[in-house]
Subunit: 200 residues, 3 copies
């Protein structure tokens, strides 16, 4: 499976956005929001790359990773400040929590696919590759929640690790039978994200 | 020292059990308990393997690691649900804290031995190898406590790092003089666990 | 840039001192203080070494790292117990917070320089090398704060990541033009530490 790097960057984008939204909710200043966004966006993939032996990790050799994470966090800040200027308080809060759920769900989907696919390309067997998919998918969020001193979502909600595991196992299971996996990759990512959203 | 992998798997088993018991105490759901058990069981060894350059980490190439951690966490859940069904509340609580202390002490002992031994096999000098033994022994528990937003035990109790250090130094000290270390390994693990238990 | 290892060891010393001071403030016992000091002193560099592929990490092959961290933490304990014996309570508190700010600022400066320099020597491009400088500089403090269940300073104060970034970018920017960087390294470290101190 020559997995497009696109999925990894999409995961970085949505994860960094979820980190920035958490930073806003916690009342962090601009630097804190950007740092939390970058740590959330790049953390899961960095742990995966270290564990599977991808040296150096992608975010250190491909400038698009840090750029994507920074742009996502900055974009969240800009949109939030705009919304805060025009909208009533209640509507903002609804939007904020919906936006958070959306980017968090998309993160699970994109990273489950890209994490499993990259682990397979580095020679891992299907089961540990799927485990790496789950770790990539939930890793950034665990780092995000630990940094703001909260118990990570993956420990508090059943339908968080389960969708990530389903998407990862799907990718790992069919990888040996086909090389034209892009449509399936989108399907696995979408399934993961949809399961997370409906179960929230 | 051709250290039996047995010690590493015994450490994984007891550490995963301690993680699952913590998850039960914190009121996590089943998935959260299993995730916390796996993270506690596999975390310390994963950090050790990354630091000493054992790529990929054992839990990604040897299926017995993930299986052992999962079975330990599942076993704890089954036993706990049984006990909750039959026993009075007070007795359960006594059993829960005793069980926790037991598996946590055994974890220290098994991982101090296996961590030091593996580091020596990877060419580290005795002192850093003993340091890796301590890190393996306390690492999973630190990850466990940080995930549930508590200050790790190793920072709060003196007789936690000290038994792990004694067991690790013992293994590192005698390693060069003998290759028939299994009895000594059991003695070092037992000493470490016993010191932790009597000092608790 | 053949960066002197001196900067790395100076960073370890000041970071371990900041960890020990945090341990004293949190009321940890002696073992807890030493463990927190060692984790703070060695943690940032260990993460850097793993990410840039410096195997094994410096603290496992060079005995001066663990020795420096231990001596710094022990020194802090001795000085504090002396001060507690002679001084009035208020003066101690002033001294404690000033000492903490000083060693934390020096840590930022030394590690921004040594982290960026080591990343460059391992072949990273200037931008990711500067990112590694920031990660080395703030990493130990993040580990320290997470271990005592607090939100890390880097998320709560704007003038924490920014001085580290300025020092790191300065080192990364001029590295290609000169090999006699020691005076500049001291200047970059001093600038970083000074910015952190005046902005605190």
């Amino acid at each position: 499976m020559h997995l497009p790097i696109l999925f990894d960057l999409l995961g970085v984008f949505s994860a960094a956005a979820s980190g920035a939204l958490t930073g806003i909710r916690k009342g962090l200043d601009l630097v804190g929001i950007l740092v939390l966004g970058a740590a959330t966006g790049l953390g899961g993939g960095a742990v995966r790359d270290v564990l599977i032996g991808a040296h150096p990790p992608a975010f250190l050799v491909d400038w698009r990773y840090l750029t994507t994470a920074t742009l996502a966090a900055l974009g969240v800040v800009v949109v939030e400040y705009r919304l805060a200027a025009v909208g009533p308080l209640l509507r903002e809060r609804v939007r904020l929590s919906t936006a958070y759920l959306t980017v968090d769900s998309l993160t699970l989907g994109f990273f489950a696919v890209s994490g499993t696919g990259k682990a397979l390309r580095y020679g891992l067997a299907p089961v540990p590759a799927a485990l790496m998919g789950v770790l990539t998918a939930v890793g950034g969020g665990v780092i995000r929640d630990m940094l703001v001193a909260e118990v990570p979502t993956v420990l508090r909600r059943e339908f968080y690790a389960i969708p990530a595991a389903l998407g990862s196992v799907l990718v790992a299971a069919v990888d040996r039978y086909t090389t034209a996996l892009t449509p399936l990759a989108f399907a696995a990512a979408g399934l993961t994200a949809a399961l997370r959203m409906v179960a929230a």
